[in-house]
Symmetry: C2
Subunit: 395 residues, 2 copies
């Protein structure tokens, strides 16, 4: 028997992330590849108490179907935190689902969609299923360059997708002035902004910058997540959108999974309702800040000349560039033989992949293994650079 | 500011189900409209113990990201139950998500999709977002008529979507001979079957018929759900598919929500691992069988001549036809004024809606209120029939 597969499914290829995660399951591999938060940050005891309260209070409601929009007290909590009307808040099954719903509601085949260079791979995958025409926007170490946004570049764009805070994969953060300029340019050009913000709370110093949402609530769709501040296994995210779009997103969500589990929504709400995040998030910031410093110190010690990386002020990732001409995907094969893994940068580019880039994740690796893994990579990259120089000489 | 909405989102209209559920939230309304299982069937104590085990055993794994395919022990449980290879099992966020993933992977705009007459509204909504061309197949009180499947009718069809057991909305079940004939015809015509089976276990006598899956595992995609045998608030469903399609569904799921919550998957597995379903499901059957009999008895007492309904052997629904020319949607307005609700049948038809049909749900309404509500409806329908006769005489 044979079947016809949809055009969108035909273009689905095996995900680089999936294949890499398989490799790194071997315990001897020092993996800087995973995008997982540290399980040490999961507030297990608080959640266990929260579950007990859910069972004590109203277990049948927690186990029954509920409204597509989500559990009202949780939506109200989110609305208060962002200073928006609760009617704009939709709970999603992880923020990955918000990406899927936004794509469903906003993308037609061939629609221009504006993304940062590079951008979050999971978003590129979610959007790709709806066959947009990606436009990669000029970006540098501080993120998107708002002055590069022109009427020509943004013509017909359904939206501009941005991760202003400690972006996955680069770890970079967009400064305040750029945020203001971006919101201003988007308004002038009538471009809808999607602000994806899973890492905003993870500023190591606690210094947070205003969201794009706060600068123009009617022109920005904001995506938030509990995956990095509570636990990803709950699959709880949310999207804040202007009323007309909120309504369409709810309709699309109803067709997608009816609603996010009532049970996990109530557990999350009971966990955070009395202020847990205010005491809990600082502990994550401290851990991740320390982990980042261990890796930055190791990089400074072990990386050969010609290798560049940034100094994140928050989040879970460091972005690295090898000298032009080196291919981080090819080098990964050798790295894995030496029991170290990272994610090659190319899949994060919607267009014109830069093969010499890579992403390093540091939050789950113990300090001594960071040191050990970075030393191995430093040696490997030095060899690759030397080999390249040898080739150049020979040629 | 204005935005362009995708073509698929433009055609999303407000759901009849949603609007009706809003009306029936008033406590004085006797609602036969809801599709909710009875909360009395939720195994709360067993689930509370299961949660305690999840926290005792490995809370960090339950709260971390997991594989897109789902929690392996739960997948193995399902595979054993259906006698299939575990590699074919994908856990979904409710079986609604399976519909969305199947649509993503199998439907192109304009693709013919074959459905029963009538069919499940949630499936029609999920498929509609991907803009198929629906073909409604000849069906009667015993479901789909396999002998009506011709090469002409099925030409180019991406799949045939069937609910052989106690279908939502009709409550009808397809007899064994029809199942065999359907699988045989589908094989001959090279039509992929999708078997949606949330109610299969809810045969009042416990008499279950073989699944289409069991008759041709390589030509049938099977969708199951824990919503009717455990609790819908967990949002746990699954899809069993031939390997090539399983792989595509996993890729689509990764882009849709990465994975179904690890936490709910483990809670469900811990709840059922030691055989709970074997003792629990018979209690649901007994309750629903009694509820169905209460309603059938009340219908026999109160419905006027000309109104027809079926005698379900399982599930949660009775399907009713008013005399031709009556419009159940128009009559619903009056019914709600008299504090009784049902779901009009028209939205369940992919094409050529039959306005005189309606769906009655009986599992959550206490017997005395069933009696009371059916009496009100009987009177109302008698009035509508009399008014129609009056109009006919006048004309």
């Amino acid at each position: 028997m044979h079947w016809a597969i949809s055009r969108r499914a035909q273009q689905l290829t095996s995900s680089a992330i999936r294949e890499i995660l398989k490799v790194t399951e071997r315990p001897e591999v020092i993996s800087f590849a995973g995008g997982l938060p540290s399980p040490a940050t999961f507030p297990v005891a608080a959640m266990e108490q929260a579950v007990a309260r859910v069972f004590a209070d109203n277990p049948h409601a927690a186990l029954q179907y509920t409204a597509t929009e989500g559990y009202l007290p949780l939506r109200e909590f989110i609305a208060r935190r962002h200073g928006v009307d609760v009617e704009r808040v939709l709970i999603t099954t992880g923020s990955q689902q918000a990406l899927d719903l936004l794509a469903k509601v906003l993308i037609d085949p061939g629609s221009p969609v504006l993304v940062e260079t590079p951008s979050y791979l999971g978003a590129l995958q979610a959007f790709s299923l709806f066959e947009p025409e990606f436009v990669s926007l000029p970006s540098d170490d501080q993120g998107l360059q708002p002055e590069a946004l022109t009427a020509e570049l943004t013509a017909g764009a359904r939206f501009l997708y941005a991760l202003p805070n400690f972006q996955n994969p680069t770890g970079r953060r967009m400064p305040l002035e750029r945020r203001q300029a971006l919101v201003q340019r988007a308004r002038e050009l009538n471009v809808l902004l999607i602000e994806d913000d899973p890492y905003g709370e993870l500023s190591y110093t606690g210094n947070q910058l205003p969201t794009l949402l706060s600068m123009n609530p009617d022109g920005v769709i904001y995506m938030g997540s509990f995956s990095k501040v509570l636990a990803p296994g709950l699959r709880l995210g949310y999207v804040i959108a202007p009323p007309e779009l909120h309504f369409k997103l709810c309709q699309a969500k109803q067709a997608s999974d009816l609603h996010t589990p009532s049970f996990t929504q109530r557990v999350a709400y009971e966990t955070i309702r009395d202020g847990l995040l205010d005491t809990h998030i600082p502990t994550i910031r401290e851990l991740y800040g320390n982990q980042c410093r261990y890796m930055l110190d190791a990089l400074a010690r072990h990386m050969p000349a010609g290798v560049k990386w940034n100094q994140p002020e928050g989040g879970m990732f460091i972005w690295m560039s090898l000298p032009e001409g080196l291919d981080s995907m090819a080098i990964l094969q050798e790295a894995v033989k030496r029991n170290v893994a990272y994610v090659p940068g190319a899949p994060f580019f919607a267009t014109n992949p830069r093969q010499n880039t890579l992403r390093l994740a540091f939050v789950t690796v113990p300090p001594e293994r960071i040191e050990q893994g970075v030393a191995i990579l430093g040696k490997l990259f030095a060899e690759a650079i030397a080999a390249q120089a040898g080739h150049a000489k020979a040629a």
